[in-house]
Symmetry: C2
Subunit: 209 residues, 2 copies
Amino acid sequence: MTASRARRRPGRPAGGSRSRESILRAARASFATNGYDRTTIRAVAASARVDPALVHHYFGTKDRLFVAAMEFPIDPAVVAETVLGEGLDRAGERLVRLFLTIWETPGNREPLLGLVRSAVTNPRAARMLREFMTRALLSRIAPALGRKDAELRVALVGSQVVGLAILRYVIRVEPLASATEDELVAAVGPRFQDYLTADLAAAPGRQST
Amino acid sequence: MTASRARRRPGRPAGGSRSRESILRAARASFATNGYDRTTIRAVAASARVDPALVHHYFGTKDRLFVAAMEFPIDPAVVAETVLGEGLDRAGERLVRLFLTIWETPGNREPLLGLVRSAVTNPRAARMLREFMTRALLSRIAPALGRKDAELRVALVGSQVVGLAILRYVIRVEPLASATEDELVAAVGPRFQDYLTADLAAAPGRQST
C-alpha cells in the first residue's frame, strides 16, 4: 500500500502533460484552501514542483489557471470581449446569447452546476467564486462603463445570470426551462442593457408620479 | 430502545399543538417524498391521524401548509397582494422592497437559504420548489398580467429574485452585498417592472438599428 502510494506521488514531472496535470492539481488545492485572492502562481508552481514560468507558459494568467483548474467553461476575457468588444450598444443582447451558448454546450453544464452547488453549500467555495467574480469579471468590465456605480451594475447582471441558470437548468421552472434562445434574448437582453447603461435612479417611463 | 421509540411515536393526538406538530411532520415527509403536486391535504391528514378538516382549520390551503412545513417565510398570498393589490403601476419597486424585507428579517434567511441549498443539490427538493413556484406563485400572479407570455414574465422576475439572493446573501459579491435597500430598489425595481409590463420583444429605446 505504502509503496504503491509512493509510486503514485508525483516527483519532478518528466513529461509536459504530467507537469500540466500537477499544476492543475496544485491549483485546485490552493484555490480551495486559500481562495482566489491568496493563491499565487509562484505558490502553485512550488507545490507542483515546476518553475513559475511553466505555469505562465501553460495558463498565462491566474484567472486562466482558475478557469482551467475548476473546469469552468467561462473565460472572463471572452465575456469582457463580448460586452465591450463592439461597444456597449446591444451588449445586453450579446451577453444573453453568450450565456445561453455556454450553458447549452454539451459538457459545460455540469462543471458550472458543480460550482453553483459548491458555492451555496460551502463557505470556502463561496469565497473562491466571490473573489474570482470580483477580480476577473467585475474589475475587468466595470471600468469600461465609466460610471461610479459600475461594479454594482455588473454584479446585478451577474445576479440575473446566476438566477436564470438556477431556475432554467436546476429547478427547471416552466415556461423558463423550455423558452427558446430568441425568447430569452428578447426578454432579458434589454434588462441587461439597462443594468449596464440606463439611468438606474430613474428609468425613463417607469416612474409613476 | 424499542419501548422508548414506541412511547415517542404519536398516536391519535390529544392536544391542539400536538396535532399541529403531527400535521407539519407528516406534511414535510409528504412534500419531500411526493413533491408538492402529489401531496394532498387528505393524505397528510391520514398520515398525521387527524381529520382533514383539522388541517384546513390550522393551515387553510396546501400552499399555506407548505409554507408552514418548510418554515418558508414567503407567503404567496402576500407576494400576490404586493404585486397586484395596488395595480401593476410600480409593482416592480414594491416587489424589490418586499424581497429585501423578507431577506433582511432576522430568522428568515436561514430557512430560505436552506431551501435554495436543497433545491440546487437535491432533485427531489428542486421538484418540490419548482411545483410550489408554479402552482402557488406563477399561477396566482400570471393571470393578472393579462398576457400570453405572463408565466415567462413572472418566472423571469423569480429568476432575478433568486440570483439576487444568492449573490447578495450567499456569495456576498460586493458592492451588491452592502448596497442599501434604496439603491437596489432604484436599480432592480424598473427591471422587474419591465419584466411585468414592458413589451418584451422590443423594449423602447433599447434596439439599435
